[in-house]
Symmetry: none
Amino acid sequence: MSEHRRGPVRSEAARVAILDATARLFAARGYDHLTMEGIAAEAHVGKQTIYRWWPSKGALVADCLLEGRLFPEGFSPADTGDLRADLIAWLRGILAFVDREGGDTMVHSLIAAAGDHPSVGARLSEQLGANPLLRARFESAVAAGQLSPDRPLDELGDAFVGAVVLRALGRAPTDAAAAARLVNAVLGPA
Amino acid sequence: MSEHRRGPVRSEAARVAILDATARLFAARGYDHLTMEGIAAEAHVGKQTIYRWWPSKGALVADCLLEGRLFPEGFSPADTGDLRADLIAWLRGILAFVDREGGDTMVHSLIAAAGDHPSVGARLSEQLGANPLLRARFESAVAAGQLSPDRPLDELGDAFVGAVVLRALGRAPTDAAAAARLVNAVLGPA
Amino acid sequence: MSEHRRGPVRSEAARVAILDATARLFAARGYDHLTMEGIAAEAHVGKQTIYRWWPSKGALVADCLLEGRLFPEGFSPADTGDLRADLIAWLRGILAFVDREGGDTMVHSLIAAAGDHPSVGARLSEQLGANPLLRARFESAVAAGQLSPDRPLDELGDAFVGAVVLRALGRAPTDAAAAARLVNAVLGPA
Amino acid sequence: MSEHRRGPVRSEAARVAILDATARLFAARGYDHLTMEGIAAEAHVGKQTIYRWWPSKGALVADCLLEGRLFPEGFSPADTGDLRADLIAWLRGILAFVDREGGDTMVHSLIAAAGDHPSVGARLSEQLGANPLLRARFESAVAAGQLSPDRPLDELGDAFVGAVVLRALGRAPTDAAAAARLVNAVLGPA
DNA sequence: ACCTAACCGAGACGGTACGTCGCGTCTTCCC
DNA sequence: GGGAAGACGCGACGTACCGTCTCGGTTAGGT
């Protein structure tokens, strides 16, 4: 009944080698020094094998992001019961990542990749902003009466993550109090 | 007294022709279809004349932005006395610009350019976010008692503009109520 | 047994198109107006395809020479039994070629190419001087007793061809008796 | 009565500096690595000053040649009374010059320059071949009965020098007996 | 036990743009 | 008005990648 494909199936080894090579080169040299030829060489794979399964460099990076090959970590806010303190700690972690050696390159690369490939943009806020987890933290704060139930929570997360992205775009230096200022700005003073 | 330079000075005609050509091509075809060769041809100028004065495509676009060649307008919030209404109107204008024909291309191009060149990022928030004017609007709101004097105003602006940028990165479609939701999220419910 | 190469083999069509284009443009505009870009365009070929197989313009011209694409003819002395008359006729042919419309350009181009690429120089004396055939003519003359068997024949050929090349270098105009004078000078008076 | 030119006359210092720089760079890097910009810089002279007085690189080199800035020496045959021995010694000197470090570069450069500028070709045979002196040696040999008075002497010189140039073009290695073979070839066996 | 379609590596191909070099001209200031 | 400095429009250079294509070799179904 069903149409059967003959011949060998997709090589998992090749798929993994390509994604590994992509993540490795992305981390080492950034998105715009990433080349299809470089990936193919690094992965010991023919270029056609890449093009057979991914339409573009952006899609490849999006897949790496999806499989968590670019951020081993994944930032998520703690829940100590004190929303402001938790948000400040969470933002500090992200800002420290951006400020560290090569971190701004990583962020800029992701932003560049987001420009190339729509789904990278979507993944970006999830991975960097950990939006589902962030939203959960907000919901917990609402339940605890620390946050008005009328605040649209997704937009609230966007405001925090967006401010960080904007800072990263402009490469503005971040001081120690930046996280606290941003929380005060968005949530209102304590 | 001063050490004097001999030889011809920089040609203003060439400088203007290059910036004009850059702005024209940027608007027409977007940042990543913008090429140095295309600019040189459009400006009837040698490539070397571009490289003599600008190190990269990004720097060129940054200068265009600085001279207001990319946004004749410049979004600025009105001051009717009602902060929320003014912010919603201002955000709607920006979102409409992003959503309009080719508007997302323009924004993505600017974001891409920001990745290439630091000062584009800085200029971006000023031009697109009109930060000095936005800050003035916030200060007016503080004076009117509509905003707590303890909110850091620059971070507040970053949160708004950042959220818009983040939306644009993910190419999420914007509905009519998006502006209002964002204002409620950041400022708290009315 | 043998290590096997994978991947596509060299395209004969591209090779021929490049050599054809080179010969065509060389004949039309001379060696120093010959450009790699022009050849690539004329041959409908990427520049890299030329650089992949030839290191320089000179090597390309040398290959054309080797395949007889620059002189369809190839000057060779007749053997009527009269050495002096045959040499004079042969030299007249060459001098006429040099003097004719564009002929000096061709010769200067070849000399310039010889400067660029060693093997062009070697091929030059073979093609223009037809040395193997010239040497055969000398051997025939030795057998006929018209030439001392102690004359080194290669050097004899070099003397004739070299004198012509030297004339061409200096662009000295050649009169009708030039060929006869050269024969008398080298072979001694009749 | 006569039209007087006003302003300063041609600067001899500049003229000498340019020719010196040309000769220095020619010897150091060869004709085709010689650039007008390089000469101007080396001579601490504006490019316009060069173009004001010389039409091309070739003309510049021709002038250097004319003033003896390229060959301090100038090969001339001795007159010991033995023509063959004198010619062999003379040829050996030239061949040694060609074969020595960078000597072939020098000769190739001169040939290339001859292609660019007609008078370089003419000067070349005079300087390298020392034709007037060579002709004088031949005339002495005719007087001594060592050479038939019917041999055209200019063509005879051309044959010798031309054979050397041809060898140099093809970069053929020269062995010790080469000079003797050439003399035997052209003059006939002893 | 073939057959054969789809996979794989390698890499040649026609292209586009890059950033550099050198050309010959033009422009500015100084002597 | 000659000369230094050097900016200009221009054209070619040789390189880097793009995305497509063409090879032989390798694997699995299907028959």
